[in-house]
Symmetry: C2
């Protein structure tokens, strides 16, 4: 297995509502076919796929409640953390944890999308982000 | 929000067991501090963080069962799908759906890690992968 995550899929209850949220966050929806929404996220892809379709395709029944698999959006500044959290609220999500100082020294908070999927938003100067948005662990 | 997912975190019950699985899959664990495992995944990061720590940090209580947020590893060939699925089983996970032909034309299957987190493994010639592992949606 080469080191990559190609696609992160959110199994969603309301595809249009979730897609509208991520578009309001500033992302561009690519319409390849009906019944699925894709967003190019740098060198990876975010997919929104109806829960019943995802369960039928995988043969797996998903659990209820907030997913134990969650995402982080790392920023280039403390101010950008505040901006992204505010944008999540005006886009139809909500702030789960307001921005504050992290024990590891950075500035961070959490939001949830309209279906409760959790995103951490963090400025971590120890994890550099290049011009193309690629993040690196410290050497 | 720029188009990127910086970190995908799995809230885990058994950090050592989960880290050992992903190492057996061929990934390299970076030890920055105790109580967390990080893997550099191209321009993103995979994090394993104990569930109680993640709940305390976010203030969110995670649900039970299989996560509605799931991951895909796209390959460069049909054969690589078979190889990665077989590797998941020998590494301590299990094959959820054996490899087969997809309605969208590719070759794919699913595995679960030792705590049931779902990964799709897919060869989708319509989504090109460059030498660095970056995947792209069709134009």
């Amino acid at each position: 297995m080469e080191p990559r995550i190609s696609i992160v899929t959110l199994a969603v209850d309301d595809l249009d509502r979730q897609a509208a949220f991520y578009e309001a966050m500033g992302l561009t929806r690519h319409r390849i076919r009906d019944g699925v929404a894709f967003f190019q996220m740098g060198g990876a892809i975010l997919g929104l796929f109806p829960r019943d379709s995802a369960e039928e395709d995988s043969g797996v029944r998903f659990g209820e409640g907030v997913s134990k698999v969650y995402l982080a959006y790392n920023t280039r500044s403390d101010a950008e953390v505040n901006e992204v959290l505010a944008l999540s609220e005006s886009s139809g999500g909500h702030i789960v944890k307001p921005a504050g100082r992290a024990f590891w020294g950075g500035w961070y908070g959490y939001f949830a999308d309209p279906e409760g999927n959790l995103w951490e938003v963090a400025h971590n100067p120890d994890f550099p982000i290049d011009a193309g948005g690629r993040i690196s662990l410290p050497a």
